[in-house]
């Protein structure tokens, strides 16, 4: 892990990984969405509205997975002070917020035909909305922490860890409490979903995750490049002042 404490080494690997991840991800996403729109059968009760599943579920997965990754990065930052951990967490926050919002929007569009309502304040929907707000707060907080100081702030990392308590709440909300949202269809080693839906969904989730990973790598490279440019400017200014 600490082999990557040297950003040059990380940048070399990131540069090689970005394009293959992006291409593979886009291809898998396209295959899953084409299958979802044209190949998959209509559902017994829901009919064609079930097709939004192929966007909704990967988006939900990445919204929750994104914050889990922020929590791991925050722990790494707090305990091991790894120089890339804070940068990774900052890079994850924006795509994580995007996919949480996408999950809420597609869920709302799906809720109208399936349940008869755009929105209800049940445990699952409310905790997912809280996740989006946590992302927005995290983005504001880490931006503020990086504007003053040298990007080594502990505060966003603590917030990233504390916010992680919402992740199990989202997952278990449909099991602990009566809710309008149904319990999970896919649990460890078991699926209540017909294979026509399941395999397309797994491909789509993998594809969306690869695109997410590629975007995070690109954003990490951008943040590192920004920091280098900043450091260079500062050095030049010092030299000019000395001369």
């Amino acid at each position: 892990m600490h082999g990557f404490a040297n950003p040059a080494r990380f940048l070399r690997l990131a540069r090689q990984l970005t394009l293959p991840m992006l291409v593979a991800g886009v291809l898998l996403c396209a295959a899953s969405l084409v299958w979802g729109l044209f190949g998959a059968p209509a559902e017994r009760l829901q009919g064609d509205s079930v097709r939004i599943l192929f966007v909704h579920v990967p988006a939900a997965w990445l919204g929750m997975g994104g914050w889990s990754a922020i929590a791991v990065a925050s722990l790494t930052e707090l305990v091991w002070r790894h120089p890339l951990a804070g940068i990774a967490a900052r890079a994850i926050a924006v795509p994580g917020a995007f996919f949480s919002a996408l999950c809420l929007i597609t869920g709302s569009l799906w809720g109208r035909p399936a349940w008869g309502t755009w929105w209800v304040w049940d445990g699952r929907l409310t905790s997912m909305l809280v996740l989006l707000f946590l992302y927005l707060s995290y983005i504001a907080l880490s931006d503020a922490a990086n504007r003053d100081g040298n990007g080594q702030s502990r505060i966003p990392a603590i917030f990233g860890l504390v916010g992680a308590v919402n992740i199990p709440v989202i997952h278990y909300s449909v099991l602990w409490w009566n809710s309008l949202h149904q319990p999970p269809s896919i649990t460890a080693g078991k699926s209540e979903m017909a294979p026509e839906f399941l395999w397309g969904l797994l491909a789509g989730t993998t594809g969306f995750s690869l695109v997410f990973g590629a975007v995070v790598l690109i954003r990490m490279r951008t943040i590192l490049a920004d920091q280098q440019a900043e450091a260079r400017l500062r050095r030049r200014a010092m030299e000019a002042a000395d001369a």
Binding site: A40, R44, G47, V79, D122, V165, W176, N178, P195
Partner: protein, 152 residues
């Protein structure tokens, strides 16, 4: 070097203790919320502890098989919501969602009258976690299993 390792372990222990406290607090909060965070009452809850007649509440459960009766006016329906422990008759006038049907989940928003009938002013459909293609719904269980096995 030695002191650096010590500092790292100190931070790790501090973070782990803080996390344990945080998880404990979150568990206590969710446990305390368990009745408030529920979206609806089950028929058994409602039968055991009926809400006041003028309080708006939600009742959720399965629409009992064969219980949907349509009134002559075309918009009023009557059905029974059950959780296999208690049954509560529901009256509703209006447009029911597409997925509202017998043997399927429903959440009714309305009030419980003193005579034990629930008067709903809105119905929400609650579907289960099973996703089954349309062509398979009319098959017998054995046929469906075979089809699933073939497509695998």
């Amino acid at each position: 070097m030695n002191s650096a390792i010590k500092a790292k372990h100190q931070r790790l222990i501090l973070v782990l203790v803080a996390l344990a406290a945080l998880i404990g607090a979150a568990l206590m909060a969710t446990w305390a919320l368990r009745s408030q965070a529920s979206f609806f009452y089950l028929p058994a809850d409602m039968a055991a502890d009926p809400p006041e007649p003028d309080r708006a509440v939600r009742l959720g459960g399965m629409v009992e098989s064969g219980s949907i009766k349509r009134a002559a006016d075309g918009v009023t329906i009557q059905f029974v919501v059950s959780d296999n422990k208690a049954r509560i008759p529901v009256n509703f006038s209006g447009i029911a969602p597409d997925l509202f049907q017998e043997n399927s989940g429903v959440v009714a928003e309305g009030k419980l009258r003193a005579d034990g009938t629930f008067v709903a002013d809105n119905l929400l459909a609650k579907h289960d976690e099973k996703y089954v293609p349309r062509e398979m719904k009319d098959m017998t269980a054995a046929q469906a299993r075979q089809t699933v096995a073939e497509t695998r």
